[in-house]
């Protein structure tokens, strides 16, 4: 039984997409997670709470330097994941092996969650490492990379809609570096074409559009790309 196409990936209209995308960006506070970890008797290193999540496809050398603006956005989409991944690594006593680097920005200004900690005496003091978390059979242990791809493209789309084409291009550069063979490459290319037009680079946009139609002749984004070409008088 095949799953239907996800609304965010093209089956939605603009209104539906905007509503769903707004929820994609929302992340839990790393501090709330840290509080829970402490409540459960697990030691929490505050440094990882500021770490950016590194998707599995990314090597340390591939982590690009980013503008402050892009960093903030990536932080928004990734901070919660970073807290989860790194604090989780601590919980599994594998902190030494963690590939997560320190983050360029601080979350010190985050408001504290209102959660009241349960007395630790009422709870187990420590948890045994959960070896199943590393079991390849449990591949869903890592939050799906698709969500990360979606968030990055949604960021670019949001920038583009807000007439911040340079920021959109930067977000797409990040996406390309992290996901050179991403599941959403087709969508990324369509967005890149729109962005190039917004940056007043019609020649590059048109050239990329040709490559796009050559690679994806039946793309669901084809109508949008054709609309862009017509709108800008390109063929």
């Amino acid at each position: 039984m095949n799953d239907p196409e996800r609304l965010l990936l093209g089956a939605a209209d603009e209104h539906e997409r905007a509503l769903l995308a707004a929820a994609i960006h929302e992340e839990p506070s790393p501090l709330a997670l840290a509080r829970l970890q402490r409540t459960l008797g697990l030691s929490v290193d505050p440094a990882p709470l500021t770490g950016l999540r590194r998707p599995p496809e990314t090597s340390p050398a591939a982590l690009p330097s980013r503008s402050l603006f892009a960093s903030k956005w990536l932080l928004l989409g990734s901070a919660g994941l970073a807290g989860l991944a790194v604090v989780g690594a601590l919980a599994l006593t594998r902190a030494a092996k963690s590939p997560h680097p320190p983050a360029p920005t601080s979350l010190g200004a985050l408001p504290a969650a209102r959660t009241e900690a349960v007395p630790s005496s009422a709870l187990p003091s420590t948890r045994a490492p959960d070896e199943r978390a590393d079991d390849p059979a449990n591949s869903t242990a890592t939050p799906p990379a698709l969500r990360d791809e979606l968030a990055r493209l949604e960021l670019a789309r949001t920038q583009l809609r807000s007439q911040r084409a340079r920021a959109a291009a930067s977000a797409l550069d990040d996406y390309d570096r992290v996901y050179p063979l991403g599941t959403l490459r087709e969508e990324a290319l369509a967005l890149r074409i729109e962005t190039l037009f917004a940056l007043h680079e019609p020649a590059r946009a048109t050239e990329l559009a040709r490559s796009f139609f050559s690679a994806y002749p039946h793309s669901v984004h084809g109508t949008r790309v054709r609309g862009q070409l017509e709108q800008h008088g390109a063929r």
Partner: protein, 160 residues
């Protein structure tokens, strides 16, 4: 388990209608219950346990909230340090509120399947395993949830 599933559970609780503060509390509750009952949870069923507990926590919290007069819990604080800019922040917040309003009109069992599929990237078989439902039931719920969501979106779009 906490490291792996906290984010999922928190986001699920949010889309099931809890405020950020309540989602913080609810997620904590879910994992504290799981910690207390860890010995009873079948290996490999930890996430399913957390998911089922989250649904119950969401229901309980919403029922409790509905009985109480509107208070601070209704107010959503913003993560100012994460804000890209005020306009985007306001826009995203409004869209999230609109989304939650629409999702809030869906029955819980449809809403949960919708959120897992559309927002969390789960496949139907994964949802079936997580919720201990037949695949056909998941597919049916997803179909109904999407239809109802789109119908309500149309109304929402027509009514500014």
């Amino acid at each position: 388990m906490v490291a792996r599933d906290y984010r999922l559970i928190w986001r699920l609780l949010r889309r099931l209608g809890l405020s950020t503060a309540s989602a913080d509390d609810g997620a904590q509750q879910v994992f504290l219950i799981a910690a207390e009952r860890l010995d009873d949870i079948q290996p490999g069923k930890e996430r399913a346990f957390a998911y089922g507990t989250a649904l119950r926590v969401a229901q309980t919290t919403r029922r409790k909230r509905d009985r109480e007069p509107p208070g601070l819990d209704q107010h959503e604080p913003e993560l100012v340090a994460h804000a890209p800019d005020p306009e985007q922040l306001v826009s995203q917040r409004r869209q999230r509120e609109a989304l939650d309003g629409i999702l809030g009109e869906l029955p819980l069992e449809l809403r949960a399947v919708f959120v897992l599929f559309e927002l969390e990237g789960f496949s139907s078989p994964e949802i079936a395993a997580l919720s201990d439902l037949p695949l056909g039931t998941v597919a049916s719920r997803l179909r109904r949830a999407r239809a109802q969501f789109r119908e309500r979106c149309r109304h929402h779009g027509e009514t500014p």
